[in-house]
């Protein structure tokens, strides 16, 4: 009951006209930058940070948080329409979302991802409100060995990302691991594969690689075809999703929300990892895994709800421990600092207005985003009716400007172009870029967690099996690895039971 009165107090704060305006502004800006490739939430929040100096802290947090979770709504738009991931967390959405668009189901994909984002966002706010302190305690139990085990499990998902050959998928993963190694090594700080170029000391910016591989690569493949891509020829059947599509999407939405909520609590790229894991889970559970990569609605619903849930729950470490879990939240932390509020273990009791005002604004923001995004779907789908000879150069300009906006650097534009060429070559040779991208994200984290664990344990490998959480995750990973063998064995056993081996003659 106490929680209800606190929440009511929060709503009283969030519903004042001023805060409502900031909430709307944040959601709106977030959607916009989510749609624009390149310019992500951290850069936008940094640009707007000085503006928040003059407004009350609660309003500032409401505005900046709105940008952050709003971007998760917008991020899927370009993934689905143009195969350009608007945000890092929307890479997986490209896989099936873009295929749906090519089959004339862009409206359905956009509708499912908007509703999925809304449900996931709301579920996650409820979780944040009720479970924040125990979740923070749980996150604290994650030391380096636990992260390592989780990342091993994540890397296992590579096998589920490719639609085609497993060998090619693994080759891509290895290439991704190698690309992820470019830069200063995370433990000793010595440069690897930088060839004396200081620009490479921080490694390849992940967004640039993804925009090149997916966006530019796709355009290059499309323009060489004589006939216009199917997108233009297919009638856009029933703008929004059909009843069957909603039914197919409902369970993935629920699973994605829960998964994203828990993975998002862990600091460090929770939204990205959760979207990949959600995709793998849906493919694994599906009765028709072969549909994935060819426009399966579950492959849009799962990851899109997961990344939204994770975005919201990534506030847990900030609000309960005072430690920002990612770059965007670190900026929100800075905004609070400027106002003399130091987020920490005592934030909820010392600054209830900030905490409950933010929670209430998140409920409101999610509703606003749904209302904002739904009518836009119609508009976005119309975009696909633009002739490709006009659309293609626009996409390229759009991507290159986005690449420049990440760090205001021409080198980054070059990086995107090079990865675009690589994306084209891979497409022609029938390689999937998704395993490369996943391995590139997870590789450096995996390496750091492994070496960190071994320094901690003075080189003892048992550290991964003696700690309960790490051991459980490792056991799961082994199970996933062996599951094809187990299933094969089981099926053979079953066959033997059903039809006793009859001697053939």
């Amino acid at each position: 009951m106490e929680i209800l009165s606190l929440l009511a107090h929060g709503f009283a704060i969030a519903l004042t006209p001023t805060n409502l305006t900031y909430c709307f502004l944040g959601s709106f800006i977030g959607t916009a930058i989510g749609v624009l490739p390149g310019l992500g939430p951290p850069a936008t929040i940094a640009l707007l940070l000085p503006i928040t100096y003059g407004i009350p802290p609660t309003s500032a947090v409401i505005l900046l948080a709105g940008i952050f979770y709003g971007a998760m709504y917008g991020g899927s738009t370009t993934s689905i329409l143009l195969n350009i991931p608007g945000e890092a967390a929307s890479v997986v959405t490209c896989l099936d979302g873009y295929q749906m668009a090519r089959q004339g189901r862009a409206g359905a994909a956009l509708a499912v991802s908007a509703v999925g984002s809304f449900i996931a966002g709301t579920v996650s706010v409820v979780g944040l409100m009720l479970l924040a302190p125990p979740l923070a305690a749980f996150a604290l139990r994650f030391g380096a060995p636990e992260y390592f085990a989780l990342l091993v499990l994540g890397l296992m998902m590579v096998g589920y990302l490719g639609g085609g050959s497993m060998t090619k998928g693994l080759m891509m993963a290895v290439l991704g691991l190698l690309l992820g190694m470019v830069g200063l090594d995370p433990i000793m700080g010595s440069p690897r594969f930088t060839y004396g170029v200081f620009k490479l000391a921080e490694g390849f910016e992940f967004v640039l690689v993804a925009m090149g591989l997916f966006g530019i690569g796709e355009v290059l493949v499309n323009v060489e075809r004589r006939v216009a891509p199917e997108v233009l020829k297919t009638q856009i059947r029933g703008l929004l999703a059909s009843r069957e599509e909603w039914r197919a999407a409902s369970l993935p939405l629920a699973r994605g929300s829960l998964l994203g909520f828990f993975v998002g609590v862990l600091p460090g790229g929770g939204a990205i990892i959760s979207s990949f894991v959600a995709y793998a889970v849906e493919k694994k559970l599906s009765r028709h895994p072969e549909r994935f990569g060819r426009g399966a609605i579950e492959g849009v619903a799962g990851p899109e709800s997961a990344n939204n849930a994770a975005a919201t729950s990534s506030f847990v470490p900030l609000l309960t421990l005072g430690i920002p879990g990612n770059a965007s939240i670190a900026l929100i932390f800075a905004a609070l600092l400027i106002h003399g509020i130091r987020p920490g273990p005592l934030l909820v009791s010392e600054q209830p207005a900030v905490f409950w005002g933010l929670i209430a604004s998140m409920y409101i923001g999610n509703v606003m985003l749904l209302i904002l995004n739904f009518p836009l779907i119609r508009l976005w789908v119309r975009l696909l009716e633009v002739p490709y000879r006009i659309l293609a150069p626009l996409i390229v300009v759009f991507v290159l400007v986005g690449a420049y906006s990440v760090n205001n650097s021409v080198f980054d534009v070059g990086t995107t172009v090079v990865f675009g060429a690589l994306g084209y070559a891979l497409r022609k040779l029938d390689f999937e870029p998704a395993p490369l991208v996943l391995a590139m994200i997870l590789g450096p984290q995996l390496e750091a967690a492994l070496r960190r664990s071994l320094i901690y344990s003075h080189g003892d490998l048992l550290v991964f099996f003696q700690r309960p959480i790490a051991a459980t995750l490792m056991a799961l990973a082994v199970l996933v690895l062996l599951s094809p063998v187990l299933r094969w064995g089981l099926e053979r056993k079953l066959r033997e039971l059903v039809e006793p081996v009859a001697p053939r003659d």
Binding site: P186, G268, R452
Partner: protein, 322 residues
């Protein structure tokens, strides 16, 4: 018709003349005749960025021209630093440099972005690092922690904030000064390192005061020492490392640096503007919110401070590389 053409010609000629005038460098006595770029070699949002923006917010009154913060992140700060080194040394392009890129990265990665490439203009402020352990840790003083390291070499798990980062560096200095060994575990930044200590995955870390204050207030962390020459205003009870008997001082400074070859008159003018700026009340208040105190040093003074820091760090890096 001819009148028309003549006017157009005049217009073009005038524009060209104006462009030419803009391209010709303004004489030094008129400095500054246009806005000054302050290049920040980092991405947005860090304490460096926030301090730079605080500087820029009041600079106009003292400089007579706006100060524009330009973000040039990448390469551990080398990208932005090199841009300033290559810029025309006329005082219109300055670097908002710091210990991270211009001493540590410069030495460790052998990047030519150190005191030999710059003329210091003014140091704005500097933050000491705070040695902190978990609230329930057995060590009540810094000396006890060092004694523990002495008795159990390599036992204390120290979470640093990245190789050669703001936590790694002072700890190496202390270990060298006290002759102790510890288990050095690198984390990816201050947040993860602090989480590791809070979660019991490491015993101690070096952090900055604003980040640690709420943890200390809640009893989750305990500060044992600071690395500055003096105690910190917001942690008056915490002694300096030097007071505890180990001859180590280390602070992360932030300073405006000009490329080598900038005329002395221009440097003097900038230094005077920054000196006045550092006494501005609203500027001081902003920096205080970030958990720092303004601690101004002029061009000559800071050149010495920096050179001293550079030599100490160079010895440490050379020792570690062997």
């Amino acid at each position: 018709m001819t009148m028309r053409a003549g006017r157009t010609w005049m217009l073009v000629f005038g524009t060209l003349l104006a462009a030419l005038a803009a391209a010709v460098p303004a004489p030094a006595q008129e400095f500054p005749a246009k806005p000054v770029d302050l290049v920040l070699p980092f991405g947005p949002g860090g304490s460096h960025d926030l301090t730079a923006r605080a500087v820029a917010s009041v600079a106009h009154q003292y400089l007579g021209q706006p100060l524009l913060v330009v973000l040039r992140p990448g390469g551990g700060g080398a990208v932005g630093s090199q841009q300033v080194i290559r810029a025309r040394p006329d005082g219109y392009t300055l670097l908002f440099g710091g210990t991270g890129p211009n001493t540590i990265f410069a030495l460790v990665q052998k990047a030519p972005i150190g005191p030999d490439q710059f003329v210091p203009v003014a140091r704005i402020n500097h933050s000491p690092a705070v040695f902190a352990v978990r609230g329930d840790a057995p060590w009540k003083t810094f000396r006890e922690a060092v004694e523990y390291m002495k008795k159990h070499p390599g036992k204390l798990n120290f979470a640093n904030t990245g190789p050669w980062g703001a936590a790694d560096f002072p700890m190496r200095l202390i270990a060298q000064a006290a002759g102790v060994e510890y288990n050095n575990i690198p984390y990816d930044g201050g947040g993860p390192a602090l989480l590791a200590v809070l979660g019991g995955h490491a015993d101690a870390t070096f952090g900055f005061a604003p980040q640690l204050m709420p943890q200390i207030a809640a009893g989750k962390m305990r500060a044992l020492a600071v690395t500055g020459a003096r105690r910190l205003g917001i942690l008056p009870a915490v002694p300096t490392v030097k007071e505890e008997g180990y001859d180590v001082t280390f602070t992360m400074w932030r300073a405006a640096l000009a490329p080598k070859g900038t005329p002395q008159a221009v440097v003097d003018k900038l230094e005077a503007a920054f000196r006045k700026l550092s006494e501005d009340r609203s500027f001081k208040a902003l920096v205080k919110q970030l958990g720092d105190d303004v601690d101004f040093q002029g061009s000559k003074e800071f050149a010495e401070t920096w050179r001293h820091e550079w030599d100490t760090a160079a010895r440490l890096v050379a020792g570690a590389k062997k």
